[in-house]
Subunit: 162 residues, 2 copies
């Protein structure tokens, strides 16, 4: 699963490093470390910790979408949106709450709310295959979500504080 | 489970009849009938259909809150909030979406949203014991929820349509 280029200094490595330095990805890494209760991944690098979030298109196609999404993918799915909520709070000072509803078929909804405002809403499917092609795409998806939520809070500040 | 007074015309019966005539309870009955795919309850009265929603304080205390809430109680829990969403839509013309997240311990959150507005938000616990002491209390809880949601829509009409 781990994505690593063979030689140091290639574009992929610097791209990964740039992604790991973004506030959203830093927050996600902190959350993953916090969940590692027994410290079994204490020596893992940030990139290693996030390795399971990275799924190439080829790997993606091989994941069956039959039955329930497993606990590991549900963990990653939920922690991704928790990281988004914490990033929103860090930038606005307003508590954002994630609520995810995933059916047994891997189909569902995700909402992030602040006060009475829905700052993010998405219908998801094939949660079994939740992941991103590269660390950069993960970082971009997180940043886009957080930016969109903050734009909504700026548009309706009163409702976000209601 | 079924609550019925021994003689007709007693206050309990008329109270039940009044509850069954409210728009929220009528909507709930319609939904329960719609879910009865095989028509096994076609001959049941409205009060009989809702019998499992009625849990006296004594019955309530006897329900264990260990393990997952069973599928029957989850069905009633979800259909109650779906009835609320449909009642809001009937009165405002705006689609309201319920999203419920219940953990294995019967602890969770319920949100109803309209556009970008959270019209109802509740933290729930002991979902295993979801129910109401009387039909009147069921009707009152539903009406209160719907009235509160409509007040929120009236307070932030722009957000409810965003």
């Amino acid at each position: 699963m781990k994505k690593m280029s063979v030689t140091a200094g290639t574009p992929v490595v610097s791209e990964d490093e740039a992604a790991l330095a973004t506030p959203f990805v830093k927050c996600l890494v902190r959350l993953v470390r916090a969940q590692d209760t027994y410290g079994s991944q204490d020596r893992a690098s940030d990139a290693e910790l996030l390795a399971h979030f990275i799924i190439t298109e080829e790997q993606r196609r091989k994941i069956p979408i039959i039955g329930d999404p497993g606990p590991d993918v549900m963990f990653r799915f939920n922690i991704f949106y928790t990281a988004a909520a914490l990033s929103i709070e860090a930038r606005t000072g307003l508590v954002a709450s994630p609520i995810t509803m995933v059916s047994h078929e891997g189909f569902g909804r995700v909402l992030l709310t602040t006060g009475r405002l829905v700052v993010f809403s998405k219908t998801v499917r094939d949660v079994h295959r939740f992941g991103f092609a590269t660390l950069r795409k993960l970082a971009e998806a997180g940043a886009k979500l957080v930016d969109g939520a903050i734009a909504a809070i700026e548009a309706y500040p009163e409702v976000a504080r209601a």
